[in-house]
């Protein structure tokens, strides 16, 4: 499988449908899942990418027993289509901890961007009280076809703050987004 499936989206104009927000990049997919997590007031998440979507394990307020939510590609695609409407709307609730300072949507969007940049796939995000463990596979480019190797990043609160800050710095200077589109989303 080639990893050169790079798409370039147009910068959104005033009236244009913001296509870049609905592309199934990690940035967008993790962002809408983060919004769901914020809206449902979930926390302590484990997010596992599986064939056809994600499995989200998380805990609700006042109930220590975790819930498991299956987010298949179709459901995520619907969430992505709704994303432009929700953009900028106030959130009823947003987690604020050392690890998740401005809610899951912000954090996961920033993380998703970085995962897109490294052309990651099959990622797992596990939240512990004091760190976020991010694992997945990334390409090792050689002479021939790319091979993939596993990677893991334990992110401390300071790493997450820096990651979000990088995302904030990117805002307002929208450029063409390099987005790796997973094979199951290709037309």
């Amino acid at each position: 499988m080639s990893v050169q499936s790079i798409m370039f989206s147009e910068a959104p104009g005033e009236d244009a449908f913001p296509q870049h927000l609905v592309e199934p990049t990690y940035q967008n997919r993790l962002r809408v899942m983060g919004r769901l997590i914020d809206d449902e007031r979930l926390h302590s998440i484990t997010l596992i990418e599986v064939a056809g979507g994600f499995v989200l394990r998380a805990t609700r307020e006042a109930d220590p027993w975790p819930v498991l939510i299956e987010l298949d590609d179709r459901k995520i695609a619907k969430m992505l289509r709704r994303a432009p409407e929700l953009r900028g709307t106030p959130k009823p609730y947003r987690t604020s901890t050392d690890l998740i300072p401005e809610g899951y949507e912000n954090m996961l969007r920033a993380l998703g961007y970085e995962l897109d940049q490294r052309i990651a796939e099959n990622v797992v995000v596990a939240e512990l009280p004091s760190l976020l463990a991010v694992s997945g596979f990334e390409p090792v480019l050689g002479y021939g076809e790319a091979s993939y190797r596993p990677f893991s990043d334990p992110l401390a609160p300071s790493d997450i703050v820096e990651m979000i800050q990088r995302a904030v710095n990117r805002r307002g200077s929208y450029q063409h987004i390099q987005s790796y589109v997973p094979p199951n989303f290709r037309g």
Binding site: S44, V55, P64, P66, V67, V124, L128, S152
Partner: protein, 201 residues
């Protein structure tokens, strides 16, 4: 929302899964528990796309897998393979009465999530999160701790099978003293009768 209680222990279930992972040469494993069972995501050797293995909570499945199990395959993070690590982890999870577990393997760490019961002051039992990050040294320490626990449980089981008066030397001494006294007393009672019988004969 409480998950249904399973008839097999975590040790049994995780050992079984570990043996299966070892035998298939899987890596990059994630395991999460739902109400319906354990969901296992793992990569087969050379495969980029992980496989998902859903193990429903049916008694027969685990029992069948428990029977013939090969030894664990050494792994960079788990010296005894997945089987050894997961069985050890399961033993400790059972001991702490954990539930709703999640295990995620990274390249050089493992995260373990779940909940465990704790006694709250005046509020009975409540559940608290169990979140652990294990590095390679922690994994080795965990396996050693689980082995020590197994040894302790074996000793406790042996003691439980032994009659209590033998298990405790002071009880044995007391018992021997009582038996000795009872024998003396019986002999004193029997001896005149025997003499009488002899006289009558």
């Amino acid at each position: 929302m409480q998950y249904p209680r399973h008839s097999h222990t975590y040790e049994q279930r995780l050992r079984s899964i570990g043996a299966r992972l070892d035998s298939g040469g899987y890596h990059s494993v994630s395991i999460i528990e739902s109400e319906g069972g354990l969901l296992v995501r793992a990569n087969a050797p050379g495969a980029r796309t992980p496989e998902v293995l859903e193990l429903p909570d049916a008694d027969g499945i685990y029992a069948a897998q428990l029977a013939p199990m090969r030894n664990g395959v050494p792994h960079r993070l788990f010296p005894d393979g997945y089987k050894g690590f997961l069985a050890a982890l399961g033993r400790l999870l059972d001991r702490s009465q954990a539930a709703a577990i999640a295990i995620v393997e990274g390249t050089d760490f493992v995260t373990v999530g779940g909940i465990q019961p704790v006694e709250a002051d005046g509020a009975g039992i409540t559940f608290e999160p169990l979140d652990v990050l294990l590095l390679a040294d922690d994994v080795r320490a965990l396996i050693a701790q689980a082995d020590a626990l197994l040894e302790q449980e074996r000793r406790e089981a042996e003691l439980a099978e032994t009659p209590p008066e033998i298990a405790n030397p002071s009880v044995v001494d007391t018992l021997l003293h009582r038996v000795s006294a009872a024998v003396d007393s019986a002999l004193r009672m029997i001896t005149p009768t025997q003499n009488t019988a002899r006289t009558r004969g």
